[in-house]
């Protein structure tokens, strides 16, 4: 029963990592898109792509928080009394990002767009970094069962920093792949590109996808060494139970890198999502059966059975109502039925 609740919670983490992650990654490319003139086209694409879906994707975070504090209340309190610095910063980052994005859609002057856009884009990089450090702190066992762990070293440590950097990179990679596909869906004729002297967005994002895939791969490889030195138990878990997922992630990442520009966008998206998702799953499997590090088990942390049943029913309703609704949203979005005003 408690394992089931943990799996539901973890599916939420997975969904947020992939869907919410892609939105954060788009912010990364927004930040690095260059000056107002050069970055106009990619930013416009990011705007149109993100606007209808980011709020729905964001709800996965709420889902995770709620599942965690209801299903595993003690673990939640332990996490918040230890990792309050990165969590507080992430919360403020979320406010800046969401409102910055919403405001930029409305304002027209370049100056104002620069401010709101910078707010959106910068916080899109900072927030996943801090959430990544939180994941690293939990995974490396730095959150004591009773909470109140070290407020600094719990997230300023090799594993947390690796988690933060990887989170930013993986988000950027997934976003670049998705935005490449989005650009392909709205092709601009060559003559038009020539006339307005702008780059082909498909190629623009493809190059970035390739670059970020490479960098992510290098960091992930270096990360193996870091984990081995800093959190040997997580390392062991990843290389035993978690190994299949780590391998799949690597293979998908390499395949996506090799096939970028050749395979169909849909296949590439699937590969990118699998590469990102299996990293997260690998972490979850490696950590099983523990909620915190290797000291608080799922079973020991779980709420009473009736609460877990209530959560199960909620998850069931989510499966019946929310998943089809989300599918509808994505289908409408893919078919170009949802547009800015």
């Amino acid at each position: 029963m408690s394992t089931f609740a943990a799996v539901v919670l973890f599916l939420g983490v997975l969904a947020y990592a992939v869907l919410g992650g892609a939105d954060y990654g788009a912010g990364f490319w927004d930040l690095t898109a260059g000056g107002a003139r050069r970055g106009r086209e990619p930013r416009h694409l990011i705007d149109t792509t993100l606007a209808p879906v980011w709020e729905a994707n964001h709800v996965w975070l709420i889902f995770c928080l709620v599942m965690l504090w209801t299903g595993f209340p003690g673990a939640f309190a332990a996490i918040t009394t230890t990792l309050y610095v990165p969590l507080g910063l992430a919360a403020l980052g979320i406010v800046v990002r969401g409102s910055g994005f919403a405001f930029r859609k409305v304002v027209v002057h370049t100056e104002q767009q620069r401010v709101t856009g910078a707010a959106f884009a910068t916080s899109s990089v900072i927030t996943p970094f801090f959430l990544g450090t939180v994941a690293g702190g939990i995974a490396s066992g730095r959150v004591p069962t009773a909470g109140h762990g070290d407020p600094i070293t719990s997230w300023v440590n090799p594993t947390s920093l690796l988690g933060g950097v990887l989170a930013v990179l993986v988000c950027a990679f997934v976003a670049a792949v998705f935005l490449t596909a989005e650009a392909r869906r709205r092709p601009v004729p060559a003559a038009e590109l020539e006339r307005r002297r702008i780059a082909d967005l498909g190629r623009w994002f493809r190059r970035r996808a390739q670059a970020s895939a490479l960098v992510t791969g290098v960091v992930a490889l270096a990360g193996i060494g870091i984990l081995r030195a800093d959190s040997p138990r997580l390392f062991d878990g990843l290389l035993s139970r978690g190994l299949p997922f780590v391998v799949v992630s690597g293979v998908c990442g390499v395949a996506a890198l090799g096939l970028l520009g050749r395979a169909s966008p849909r296949l590439l998206q699937a590969l990118a999502v699998t590469a990102a998702g299996t990293v997260v799953v690998g972490w979850g499997v490696a950590q099983y059966p523990y909620v915190l590090g290797t000291h608080l088990t799922i079973d020991a942390a779980a709420a009473p059975p009736a609460t877990l049943w209530a959560l199960t029913i909620v998850a069931g309703i989510a499966l019946v109502l929310v998943v089809p609704a989300l599918a509808l949203l994505f289908v409408l979005q893919q078919r170009g039925r949802l547009q800015s005003h």
């Binding site: 209808p52 709020e55 889902f63 504090w69 969590l87 507080g88 406010v95 370049t110 909470g147």
Partner: protein
């Protein structure tokens, strides 16, 4: 009825007694004060946005429905523009709501760690509704151009329904803090939970209903107020008239119901939350024939400078002057709210009821004129009153939350968990609070200026005689002049 009063009061007092025996009397953690300020500030900010996600969308759908069924272009234009406003406010509401989720853990680990297994259940349900709301808000807001009118309209209906469901769920959690039920604590840990009793606790139905109606009042009066200002400035076209009529009609219909529900709620508080009721009445000594004291401040066990209506409180609580009202003296001293807290609760209640009554009068004025002449009252004072009614409704909403939240102190979960035991003992909350205030003030200013920008743009489009293009943002591509493909 009298029996149940004494019972519940006795229960709370005995629970309090146990805690004293346990020696829970430590000095307050240094985080208590800033944490409460932080929570109050962020919740107070977020709650202003709630009516616009919950009820404003309903106004939007009314305009949309009218637009489709009667081919009313003006109504359609209003719906379209309102959805753009909703898009901005919904985004700010979504992220400021997320902050509250974080804060539950960051500020109140004592609450979440011990009671999360019960307290969390309403939030899990709220999460579902929030999902549905976020999905369909997006479909509705971005579906104007490429969806057929009726499917588009229907995509807005789940937003309204999930708004109602989501609000009710969150309020269920708050109601549970006031009248906790459905759980057993053993050795500082919840060992048994009855989810249905947690959800449908005794305070649930009137708190949820009271909040929902408040949301509809705030949205209705605020939107009507915007168009009333326009009319006062001489823009008396059909666009402004309709923009005032739709929200004001909804608000005017809701207000009398709200007064009734509020009255019932107050009596429920009298029965089930005697300490809060005593704070509302600023009453020290248990007595019959208690006057209803308006205004004043509470100090040394009495109200100074208040105006008393003889027997008022007793009659309002139990219909007869002989109704006995428990005073704060019944609360053990360790758990008695401070004098200042009593003053705050007492005055907030007066503000809420005062504004509610004024809005009822405004609604009646409007209802009378509309019934007689199918038109709004001719007086400019009516427009002036409507113009400020939105702000007034927001103040009343905030005051109501102050009553229920401050009125619960020093408890977080009445009879079970003191706020000073719920608060975190980690970190310097003042830093977080300072950063949050700066950030929220900026976000608040930006929200206003962005809405002002929309208004300016629409007015320019109307002046150019091309309102159909007004809601169309394709003309304003991000980053620099000139349209893209």
């Amino acid at each position: 009825m009298a029996l149940s009063l004494t019972l519940s009061a006795a229960e709370i007092l005995s629970a309090a007694g146990t805690l004293v025996a346990d020696g829970a009397l430590a000095a307050d953690p240094e985080q208590l004060w800033p944490a409460r300020e932080q929570m109050a500030f962020t919740l107070g900010f977020h709650i202003i946005l709630v009516p616009f996600g919950v009820a404003f969308t309903f106004l939007m759908l009314i305009a949309n429905y009218r637009g489709i069924t009667r081919g009313d272009e003006t109504a359609m234009l209003l719906a379209r523009r309102w959805s753009q406003v909703a898009a901005v406010l919904f985004a700010v509401g979504a992220v400021s709501g997320t902050v509250l989720s974080f804060e539950l853990g960051l500020l109140w680990p004592g609450l979440m760690g011990t009671y999360g297994a019960a307290f969390g259940i309403p939030f899990a349900i709220e999460g579902l509704f929030f999902f549905i709301e976020a999905i369909f808000v997006a479909i509705y807001i971005y579906g104007w151009n490429r969806m057929k009118p009726w499917p588009h309209f229907w995509s807005g209906v789940p937003v309204v329904l999930s708004g109602i469901g989501g609000t009710s769920s969150v309020v269920a959690a708050n109601a549970w803090m006031n009248q906790p039920a459905g759980f057993t604590v053993r050795d500082g840990r919840i060992v048994e939970v009855e989810p249905v009793k947690v959800l449908l606790n005794d305070a649930f139905w009137y708190e949820a209903l009271h909040m929902l109606l408040a949301a509809y009042m705030v949205a209705g009066f605020t939107v009507a107020g915007v168009y009333a200002v326009g009319m006062l400035r001489g823009r008396r076209d059909r666009y402004h008239r309709l923009g005032l009529l739709i929200p004001l009609t909804v608000a005017a219909l809701v207000t009398p119901v709200q007064i009734f529900v509020g009255d019932v709620a107050a009596r429920e508080v009298f029965r089930n939350e005697p300490a809060k009721f005593a704070a509302i009445e600023a009453l020290h000594e248990t007595d019959t024939h208690v006057p209803e004291v308006l205004g004043g401040y509470y100090d040394d066990n009495e109200v100074h400078y208040g105006v008393g209506i003889p027997w008022g409180a007793s009659i309002l609580s139990g219909y007869v002057p002989s109704t006995e009202i428990k005073g704060l003296e019944e609360v053990p001293e360790e758990f008695r709210p401070t004098d200042r807290a009593v003053t705050v609760v007492h005055l907030s209640f007066d503000v809420m009821v005062g504004i509610g009554t004024a809005l009822l009068a405004l609604s009646a004025w409007y209802g009378w004129a509309y019934w007689r002449r199918r038109d709004i009252p001719r007086s400019r004072w009516f427009l002036r009153a409507t113009a400020v009614s939105g702000v007034a409704a927001i103040v009343a909403l905030e005051a109501g939350w102050v009553v229920t939240e401050v009125g619960r102190q020093p408890w977080t979960v009445v009879g079970h968990l003191l706020t000073r035991d719920a608060v975190t003992t980690e970190g310097n909350i003042w830093l977080l609070f300072g950063a949050t205030v700066v950030l929220y003030v900026l976000v608040g200013i930006a929200t206003f200026s962005v809405l002002g920008l929309l208004r300016k743009r629409w007015r320019a489009a109307d002046a150019a005689g091309d309102p159909s293009d007004a809601g169309n943002e394709e003309t304003t591509v991000p980053y620099g002049p000139g349209a893209s493909a």
